[in-house]
């Protein structure tokens, strides 16, 4: 993974000092809240329901053991002993004092971490596919380019006061595990006819009030043009994005209003001025960054590991966990281990300091010191020898981290909601917890199969409900919590926005409604269809009927 050099260390140190100065000036009254707010947001610091919340950047979701240990320490030292992993692969702390934050950032800087640009109207954390570097279907490790983009976007002087936030995602495989189609810019690695790797550039995707799937504006962009092209897109957005209405300020609105074709023309025209200049990405810069993402020292192993197979045969709980939580690794004898942060009754995506330390130890001993955060709010140990998987599972189980539910119905994506968030209209975590309790039985979950439930506590859609197979949106109806349900959303290559099934459900009825939807699917599925396939075949009809008419 990427290692800071003297320049990178200098930047985070200076940034901490700069923010420390800003906090002092704020507390003295030299800065009003209106002037301070964008500055603290550009350092990831929000005022939430109960206290200040800090969003720490986890660039493209990659962490070292050492970094995760520091995150655990920070949870203990400055917060209440836990953290929350987010849908953009970052981590959030919910209970901070403003006065402590500069010291917290100084601690982060000692392990090459920061909270720069995790909020504010600037370019945010660049996210990537959580299996980057270890999946056989990958063209190239997308993190190389995510790191290059991260550096280019850091304290970019022209793009720090955009009309609104800006989110970029990169995926290196044809299978899109990074939801690039619902990002402001999505980069999908592709090969051209000559077999050269480059990027399909998609622009204008997003969720929230106006969910839109991104449009391809460039089917193939060579690597050397990556930064100059991004700069062209950002400049067009900075100049033309709306600044009169907060809810119409994202680039997706601009693309929609001028049309993808006209937008592409504007970007290409701007790009003519920028291409082949100071932003051209030379091969040696790419090589320099690529070296940080070189494969670790894998052993040469057999693909079949009898000891692993034997344990799977003997231990039923282990076998159940393996069937959902292991993903194939491109190197024989290794596996990708998914760690579920969706235990029954727990808050999705939360991890205690002790759990973080357990994972850090496991990563150090069994995964070359590396782990990943997924946008589904789980963790990954990317390089585990099959021979070690049983021991890893035992350690995870002891720490409450061995839920065998990756990709199943209880592996929900859930925002913090009204229990924590200033923007929320309804709670989301209790609904997720009830779903995990209702569907706890593993065999039932496994029979239901691939079913992604995504829950948001408000229209801002941080829980990605629009692209859930089943989406739940919390709304406030006359002071009561209601949940509007959508069906058929998808964040992958055939991305789609879910359809509203009908009137919202009261809090007490919401999980029953989910169960009715599941039962309807099971009654109608054919030939091992996933929920999404059944829905795409049948549409809303049977579900509406069961939910509303058949009562």
């Amino acid at each position: 993974m990427y290692q800071y050099d003297a320049y990178d260390h200098q930047l985070v140190r200076e940034r901490v000092a700069q923010f420390r100065g800003q906090v002092v000036r704020r507390l003295k009254g030299d800065l009003t809240e209106e002037e301070f707010r964008p500055l603290r947001l550009m350092n990831g610091l929000y005022l939430q329901l109960h206290a200040y919340m800090l969003r720490v950047a986890v660039p493209y979701g990659t962490l070292s053991s050492e970094q995760l240990r520091m995150l655990a320490q920070i949870a203990r030292k400055y917060d209440k002993g836990y953290g929350h992993f987010t849908t953009r692969q970052n981590i959030q702390y919910n209970w901070l004092n403003l006065e402590d934050v500069p010291d917290l950032l100084a601690d982060l800087a000692t392990v090459e971490m920061h909270a720069i640009q995790t909020s504010g109207n600037c370019i945010r954390n660049v996210t990537a596919d959580q299996y980057a570097g270890v999946s056989a279907d990958e063209i190239e490790d997308p993190r190389i380019y995510a790191e290059i983009i991260r550096q280019w976007s850091t304290l970019h002087p022209e793009f720090s006061f955009l009309p609104r936030k800006f989110k970029i995602a990169v995926t290196g495989a044809p299978k899109d595990r990074a939801a690039v189609r619902v990002h402001d810019i999505g980069l999908q690695m592709r090969r051209n006819e000559k077999g050269e790797a480059g990027f399909e550039v998609l622009v204008g995707g997003g969720l929230g009030r106006t969910p839109i799937i991104a449009k391809t504006i460039r089917p193939f962009l060579p690597k050397r043009d990556l930064l100059s092209y991004l700069e062209a897109v950002l400049r067009v957005y900075n100049q033309l994005g709306r600044r009169d209405n907060l809810h119409k300020a994202r680039i997706k609105i601009l693309v929609q209003s001028v049309g993808a074709e006209r937008f592409t023309e504007m970007v290409e025209a701007e790009w003519q001025h920028l291409r082949d200049g100071a932003l051209e990405l030379p091969a040696d810069t790419i090589a320099h960054i690529r070296a940080f993402f070189a494969a670790p020292a894998y052993e040469t192993l057999e693909a079949e590991v009898p000891a692993f197979e034997a344990k799977r045969f003997e231990d039923r709980a282990f076998a159940e966990w393996c069937r959902t939580n292991l993903a194939p690794h491109k190197v024989p004898g290794y596996a990708i281990v998914n760690i579920s942060l969706k235990a029954t009754g727990e808050a999705p995506g939360d991890a205690s300091a002790e759990q973080m330390e357990t994972v850090a130890d496991l990563a150090e001993r069994h995964s070359f010191g590396e782990l990943r955060v997924t946008h589904a709010q789980n963790l990954v140990l990317p390089h585990v020898k099959l021979a070690d998987v049983f021991a890893v599972w035992q350690a995870l189980a002891a720490a409450g981290l061995a839920s065998a539910n990756i990709g199943l119905i209880t592996d929900t994506i859930t925002c913090p909601g009204l229990d924590y968030c200033n923007l929320a209209n309804a709670r989301s975590i209790p609904v997720a917890q009830q779903i995990s309790e209702r569907f706890e039985a593993l065999e039932r979950q496994y029979d239901i199969g691939d079913l992604k439930i995504k829950i948001s506590g408000c229209i801002n859609a941080c829980g990605h409900h629009h692209v859930g197979h089943i989406g739940l949106l919390g709304v406030d109806k006359k002071g009561e919590e209601f949940y509007q349900i959508t069906l058929g959303g998808d964040a992958e290559e055939k991305a789609s926005i879910g359809d509203i099934v009908g009137p919202a459900f009261a809090r007490e009825k919401a999980v029953d409604a989910v169960e009715t939807i599941v039962e309807t699917y099971l009654a109608h599925r054919q030939n091992g269809e996933r929920f999404l396939d059944t829905y795409r075949r049948l549409g809303l009809g049977p579900f509406k009927e069961q939910l509303y008419d058949a009562r």
Binding site: L11, F161, T285
Partner: protein, 161 residues
């Protein structure tokens, strides 16, 4: 208002003339784009230096033909959050090769000075409440930059090669 540059407080010889005010006979005047488009000939006929002030919704492209006439271009930040002048500044410097004074006016605050400098601004109109010496430290706060801009500083990726 105090005018500063990187070097410190500056005397300001420029007079901003309102659209409906009479033009002074001589001296350096700054007018709006609208006035320039209306009274261009009268402005050029004068003996004093000429400057222009753009609103944030007016583009640098509007000046491309006439740029040679101006010794000062002022770009207005109506609120500090309006980031459009950063793009206009870079276009003036990097695309059109403008070498005159490029001034930030309007809601110019300490914590944006570093970005403004990088985008090619070389003078800044600070509000009366500004602690000038303290504010000017903002120029020096960050010693490494990661992307090329108008200031000619070598970005880190370039330094590594």
């Amino acid at each position: 208002m105090t005018l500063v540059s990187r070097e410190g407080v500056q005397e300001d010889p420029w007079v901003f003339v309102a659209d409906d005010a009479a033009l002074p006979e001589d001296g350096a005047v700054v007018v709006t784009l609208e006035r320039w488009q209306r009274d261009g000939n009268a402005l050029l006929a004068r003996s004093g230096r000429l400057g222009i002030c753009l609103r944030s919704d007016e583009t640098a492209e509007a000046l491309v033909e006439a740029l040679g006439h101006f010794d000062l271009v002022a770009l207005e930040f109506p609120q500090f959050k309006d980031g459009r002048p950063y793009s206009s500044a870079r276009i003036l410097r990097e695309r059109y090769g403008y070498t005159g004074e490029l001034r930030a006016v309007g809601d110019v605050l300490r914590d944006q000075l570093f970005f403004m400098l990088r985008c090619g601004f070389d003078s800044f109109e600070l509000p009366d409440r500004a602690n000038i010496q303290e504010w000017m430290q903002a120029f020096e706060e960050i010693g490494v930059v990661y992307q090329p801009a108008s200031d000619g500083r070598r970005p880190v990726p370039g330094l590594r090669r």
